[in-house]
Amino acid sequence: MGLRGEAAIVGCAQYKPEKYQTAPQMFHLEQAADLAGEALLDAGLSLGDIDGLVINGAHFHEASAFVPAIVAEYLGVKVNFAEVVDLGGTSAVAMIWRAAAAIELGLCSSVLCVLPQRMAPAGPDEDLAAAAKAMTYGAHSTTFGAPEAEFDIPYGHVGQNTGYAMIAQQYAYKFGYDTTAMAKIAVDQRYNAQANPEALFFGQSLTVDEVLASKLVADPLRILEIVMPVAGGAAVIVSSQSLARSCRHRPVLVRGCGERLSFKSPSYSHDMTTTPIAVAAKKAFDMSGLKPADMHMAQIYDCYTITVLLSLEDAGFCEKGQGMHFVREHDLTWKGDFPLNTHGGQLSFGQAGVAGGMSQVIEAVAQIRGDAGGRQLPVHDTAFVSGTGGVMSEQGVLILAGSN
């Protein structure tokens, strides 16, 4: 059961993360076309090869419904598989396995997965105040009848920081907490970013002391343990194995996948320190026939340091409650014995909205191809990739492996 590993990632494109103030503004449709063009060039395919489309539906600028139809028409493609994914930070991972599954079902042979996340130009009559208000509430719904509007927002439970902070506090209560180990996650990833000219924090090194001296945002999380939202975007093309063989690069096979959505607010979880990735990772590993020890790298979704810690534990890289010990005992840099987020992670690469999760997929592809430049791993055939949406609400896992 599950994926047979007969679909491969063949093309990637990604905007360099930039601060919103200085990034170009483009319509999402134009970003989709631009990113698709770059990914097709990378793959060595042409527009006519695309017969599947997966796009983010939430916050797509030029449409709130019929998004795949509008995007397909704009691109000039006719597709046998059209899908909207609305899973926050795990959208990227979710897109890749849906594409692979559609290909293995025989529905299509090349699927474009695209996440435009630069800002669009404001229209002449656009209500900027309404847009700003929507930003204030972030991922929380203020609509009448939305449970969050009634039972979260009146108590100030809004945004992501405090939710992740309360998970971290509960973790500390149950298992203890080493702020130095948590800071080391950010520091090791920043080291990796120093070998990645595309990273937002390229050229800015970081020490544990600097993390621990940075501004406390929501106890125990400090600002340097929290991703910086930036403008960007990404596209990935997944193709059938037979088509992949004629593409320009080493095909990266989608060997396993898993997905788990447990709640919107972790407050309603029976155990908020055991995260949905536990189920998703087990499914993905079982499907691939591989195990955590077989992974040559881990590209773990890192909206916060605590996300990385819990993912390491629940995906099976270490025992529950041993995450801090694991982080202390291992060198997490690209030079180290447990290469983690070798592009710098989103903490140092930048988080381009829901495209942020695609940075982890694309880094795994670059490493497996052997195209990772100054941060290339010597052994680079297998990768664990994860995504996390909401407040540990929904998580996904991919097991990727280079074709022989």
Binding site: T136, P154, G156, Y173
Partner: protein, 139 residues
Amino acid sequence: MQIPRPDPTAISRPFWDGLRQRIIQVPQCDHCDAWIFYPRRHCTECGSRRLTWRRVSGRATLHSYTFARVATLPAFAELPLQNLAIVTFEEGFNANTSLTGMNADDIHIGMALEPAFDVIDEQGTTRLLFTVANIDPTR
């Protein structure tokens, strides 16, 4: 600034009406006894659609908390230190809330709490906050 007001729905109204009278009532499943919070019309444990509103004491323990050093909304920026809390009612269900009338140093996970009814507007809209229990929960 005004704290965002909860707008009761036909489904949740008994909860909010109860708070105005300083009572806490929550739907309970007739079939499996699960407590359903936030209020819904079906049981999230067994799927039954036979639920009955029942009064609970509000005795709870602190499941987790944090201090928002950056206010989560402008309405909370006036507080000296905004806190957010998740509490576990003695019946076993969790709720998002905030703690009131406590010093930051006195807040710790696992502590016993009791309800504090917080009227936020002239219409009498009431939030369910919590504060340190002044009775021994073991009695």
